[in-house]
């Protein structure tokens, strides 16, 4: 009961913040719309590049362009969710270094939650456009598959978010980790946006365990296309484990937090 009540309050707060975000974005409407369009073109041009490759080669180790489209569908939808509703966690290293985390820590809500929803980039609505567009051209469109696609995107988002929390929390333990975290996160996304079939044997193990990029590419495609129960289980359990790990590391990190005092005592 208490949990449900708490969840409901968080949800209300979340919706309120999103309303404020939209308000901020619409302070200049033209700018907002232009950004969304630009982002969509961005994504499509990237996908175009892959389309050319598949035109040349037909398939890559068994993957065709339809599989690649599914990958981009899940990837873009998950990333849109991250960038619109949880991007604040990317700023965490900065908050830790300059002490601005203070304001989140004195609030009666979970500070990780508050930090996460504190930033949103409106342009990333364009990623939703791209994601859904890719799903509809993938050649795997059925009513059931649509919901599988949504579910896979949700798991992919949780993995993405958890990894970003872990990378951002590095700032609790060492200084100047902002771009280190950014780069590792980018490497993760880059891994996730390749046809998973190019990694075989040992490569596959490294690519799935050390960097959990398989959660963005391999499993969603197996799940949506092949209705693989195994892929679903791996995604579900994997994302829960990763999420719990991220929260644990964040909480450990808080004990090392120095409120901007690291570079001099105040």
């Amino acid at each position: 009961m208490f949990m449900a009540d708490n969840f409901f309050k968080m949800l209300k707060l979340f919706l309120f913040v999103q309303k404020s975000n939209l308000k901020t974005a619409f302070l200049s409407k033209g700018d907002a719309l232009a950004n969304v369009i630009m982002m969509t073109i961005n994504n499509l041009s990237f996908i175009f590049m892959w389309w050319v490759i598949f035109q040349n080669k037909g398939t890559i180790n068994g993957w065709n362009f339809g599989d690649m489209a599914l990958l981009f569908a899940v990837m873009n939808t998950a990333f849109a969710t991250f960038a619109l509703f949880a991007r604040g966690v990317q700023q965490l290293p900065e908050f830790i270094d300059n002490g601005n985390l203070d304001n989140f820590l004195v609030s009666p809500r979970s500070s990780l939650f508050m930090v996460s929803i504190s930033e949103s980039t409106f342009a990333n609505w364009g990623d939703y456009v791209t994601g859904f567009l890719m799903f509809f051209i993938s050649g795997h469109v059925t009513f059931a598959n649509f919901w599988l696609f949504i579910l896979a995107s949700l798991f992919a988002f949780i993995i993405m978010y958890s990894l970003r929390v872990i990378l951002s929390a590095l700032a609790f333990f060492a200084s100047d980790t902002q771009r280190l975290g950014d780069n590792i996160f980018m490497a993760f996304l880059t891994f996730g946006s390749q046809p998973a079939s190019i990694f075989t044997g040992w490569y596959k193990v490294v690519f799935l365990t050390i960097i959990p990029a398989g959660f963005l590419s391999l499993y969603p495609v197996e799940f949506i296309k092949g209705h693989s129960l195994q892929a679903l289980l791996i995604m579900g359990i994997g994302s829960i484990i990763f999420f719990l790990l991220a929260v644990k590391i964040y909480q450990q990190g808080l004990k090392h937090y120095s409120s901007g005092n690291r570079f001099g005592v105040r």
Binding site: K9, K12, L13, F16, V17, S20, K23, T24, L27, G99, N100, L101, D102, N103, L105, V106, S107, P108, R109, S110, S111, M114, S175, L254, K255, Y257, S258, S259, N261, R262, F263, G264, V265, R266
Partner: protein, 306 residues
């Protein structure tokens, strides 16, 4: 009355990286421990207005941050209404309000009232209670005209008034203010001090205010804790401090000939009024300032007497 804040042997050490260059430091960084707060012990009663003062780097902010659940201490304990703050972060959040002079909790691009509404949501206030509370504070702090302006368009003094209102919306029993007057001009400082005091008296808020400006404590507080190098060196009423250490006033005058003359008055022997009268009689004064001795001098004085 009961103690609302109890602090016992509270200590915080920071690790600082020694030097930052060379390959060796990348793999084997050398650290040096700095004790920011060193076994301090004190209690604060409900409704007390306490100034926590000391020079830069004395450990004031670090203490306040431990009490407001932001930092974990290295050792020692503290209790806020019987609870250890850093272990009961969400529970005590409703009882405390925090204002950090150099940080902002207001949304930079949105109108002030939106930030306030967000605070209301964060603290789960129901709509009616929130509106009533907001309207009361808005009147008290005289910010009605500012509500529709975005934060970025406010002056520092106006912003500080809004920051304080944002921290008081959920009606905390304890208000921590960390350097609330930093960077403000003399008039704005005066306004802020008066408002803080007025609010605290009306609602019996317990205040803990840090500052390196001795005027802040004189205008707002009734009790003073002086901290230096992490240790408490004075803890008593403002009156006691005034009698024993704040008895000196520095008077600086400019005569119409452009000369600057400095005088030191000991208020125990000569009241300020008498001293001023004598000066005005003696010189053609065009400008005059009366100042308390700076923090460093009071601290020197305290060490001398011990």
């Amino acid at each position: 009355m009961t103690n609302i804040i109890e602090v016992n042997q509270l200590t915080k050490k920071f690790k600082l990286k020694k030097n930052n260059s060379g390959l060796r430091s990348l793999f084997f960084p050398e650290y040096k421990n700095i004790t920011a707060v060193d076994k301090i012990t004190f209690n604060i009663k409900k409704g007390e207005r306490v100034a926590f003062i000391g020079p830069n780097g004395a450990g004031k902010s670090t203490t306040i941050k431990m009490l407001s659940s932001i930092l974990y201490p290295t050792s020692g304990t503290a209790l806020i209404k019987g609870m250890i703050p850093w272990e009961n972060r969400k529970k005590i959040a409703g009882d405390i309000g925090t204002v950090f002079g150099q940080r902002s909790q207001l949304w930079y691009n949105l109108p002030i009232q939106d930030s306030f509404a967000l605070m209301g949501k964060i603290y789960n206030m129901d709509e009616i209670a929130f509106k009533r509370r907001l309207s009361r504070l808005v009147n008290l702090f005289e910010i009605r005209d500012l509500l529709s302006h975005p934060t970025r368009s406010l002056s520092l003094g106006q912003r500080m008034r809004c920051e304080i209102v944002a921290s008081l919306l959920h009606k905390p029993q304890i208000l921590f203010l960390d350097e609330p007057t930093i960077g403000l001009d003399v008039t704005a400082k005066e306004i802020i001090r008066n408002l803080i005091k007025k609010q605290a008296l009306e609602e019996e808020t317990t205040l803990l205010l840090t500052s390196h400006d001795t005027d802040d404590m004189e205008k707002v507080c009734e009790r003073v804790i002086i901290i230096n190098k992490g240790k408490i060196i004075f803890d008593d009423s403002l009156d006691r401090l005034k009698q024993s250490y704040l008895s000196k006033k520095y008077i600086e005058i400019t005569t119409d000939a452009g000369d600057k003359i400095k005088k030191t008055v000991n208020t125990k022997d000569t009241p300020v009024k008498q001293a001023l009268d004598e000066i005005v009689k003696k010189y053609h004064v065009t400008d005059i300032t009366v100042e308390n001795p700076p923090m460093e001098e009071i601290i020197k004085e305290i060490y001398k007497r011990d």
